[in-house]
Subunit: 253 residues, 2 copies
């Protein structure tokens, strides 16, 4: 492995429902003099993917039910937001101390079902997670391939909090053309001992790396990560789904 480079793509405009994110990324990259190649990973923020897919709701259109009202009162949250969170969830993992952690419909476990109000136009608008961010990544990859002939891997990233650790870090909620896990189990280390429990969540590390080149205020929703061609495949592959720990293997829900 030699150097890895993380390059922000500037100049992506405000995204509306129906926009082709892959085309917007290609245009902004081109205007910035950045060529997208088949050895690159393009990391795209959940926010613009959700907007392009029309996954935006206005709280003023939401009528909270009894369960949402009760939970909202307990947690000190807007009951309309809680109604949306419950509608976007399979189950509640924790509802305590102002925090609502759920298994979202998409299978990710996160706060508020990933529903987010920042950087959305309209004071009562929020974004929902893409319904299937692996499908989103495949579509964006196909759009880029169509326009440039090159098929970089695509990661859809979102900022998640973590148990035990303060702060948020970006993780992958969807990907295409990238093996999300790099499995070293069974291989020997330098002393000939088997490497224990070493399955690296490459897609999450790429999402985290990309976030370093982003500016939350100006909005930098797409970032290129270069130098990881060895993790990229021509096939779209399994997406980020293998990163979801099965309930039977999970000690924390």
């Amino acid at each position: 492995v030699s150097a890895v480079e993380i390059v922000p793509i500037h100049g992506i405009p405000e995204v509306d429902a129906g926009d082709a994110v892959g085309a917007l990324v290609c245009r902004a990259a081109g205007e910035g003099g950045l060529a997208l190649g088949g050895e690159d990973v393009v990391v795209i923020s959940q926010k613009i993917v959700s907007k392009a897919e029309g996954r935006v709701r206005s709280l003023s259109d939401v009528e909270p039910g009894d369960r949402a009202r009760r939970l909202a009162a307990e947690l000190g949250k807007d009951p309309r937001l809680v109604e949306l969170i419950l509608a976007e969830s399979r189950s509640v993992v924790r509802a305590e101390r102002g925090v609502l952690i759920v298994e979202a419909s998409s299978g990710w476990i996160c706060a508020n079902a990933g529903i987010d109000a920042s950087n959305v136009q309209g004071s009562e608008s929020v974004t929902l997670l893409p319904a299937d961010a692996d499908a989103s990544a495949r579509r964006i990859r196909a759009e880029i391939r169509e326009l440039t002939g090159a098929a970089p891997a695509v990661v859809v990233a979102d900022s998640f909090g973590r148990p035990w650790r303060v702060g948020q870090a970006d993780v992958a909620i969807g990907c295409a053309g990238l093996a999300p896990l790099d499995d070293w189990r069974g291989r020997a280390d330098r002393s000939g001992r088997e490497l224990a429990a070493t399955e690296v969540a490459i897609a999450d590390e790429i999402a985290a790396a990309a976030d370093l080149a982003r500016n939350k205020l100006s909005g930098t929703p797409a970032v290129i990560v270069r130098g990881l061609g060895h993790h990229i495949s021509a096939e779209d592959g399994p997406g980020a789904a293998p990163l979801r720990r099965a309930e039977a293997d999970d000690l924390f829900r």
Copy 2:
């Protein structure tokens, strides 16, 4: 923010107790034609820091007690390893299905108290976490400053598993000269709305990014991350300690 670059430092030799990690890093960087600057972050694997600090134990020297024997039988683990884990822990968070998650003496919550057998010489040798990886980072930073005149930030990184997500990702267990959290709370987004819950765990994202330029087999225990000078301070600062969530704020122990 413009591009961020992640550059592996090759050629760091096997590390022994008493070695000055900062000096080894400077020498290897110099031989590789890499200058360390005050705008760089040097990310160093826990493994070599522990070795340099003599935090290596041989399982053959460990006499497991009753509690360790019982737990080891339940979990299918080596009772001597479990004895070491308990000795390096404040409390057990989960002991189920072959997994032992503890609050380590250093305050980090992780599997096996961070005790690791891979890439350690001697078939029964394991490394313990540094007793205080923030102090380790400060010392390494001072060694580099002494030798080069420049004071890059230093992060000590380790691979931790995560609840809910498969695979491991590198996180910071110690740092010096780097604000571990980038706090955007209270600042407004592009639409003038307050950014919600946006406190980015920069030190963890840097650790994850550095891992992308590493090779687990050949061993690449030090990596330079460039382009993040805006997160670096002349003072060593609070270290990685602010990343530890207080028990009172934690829903998962």
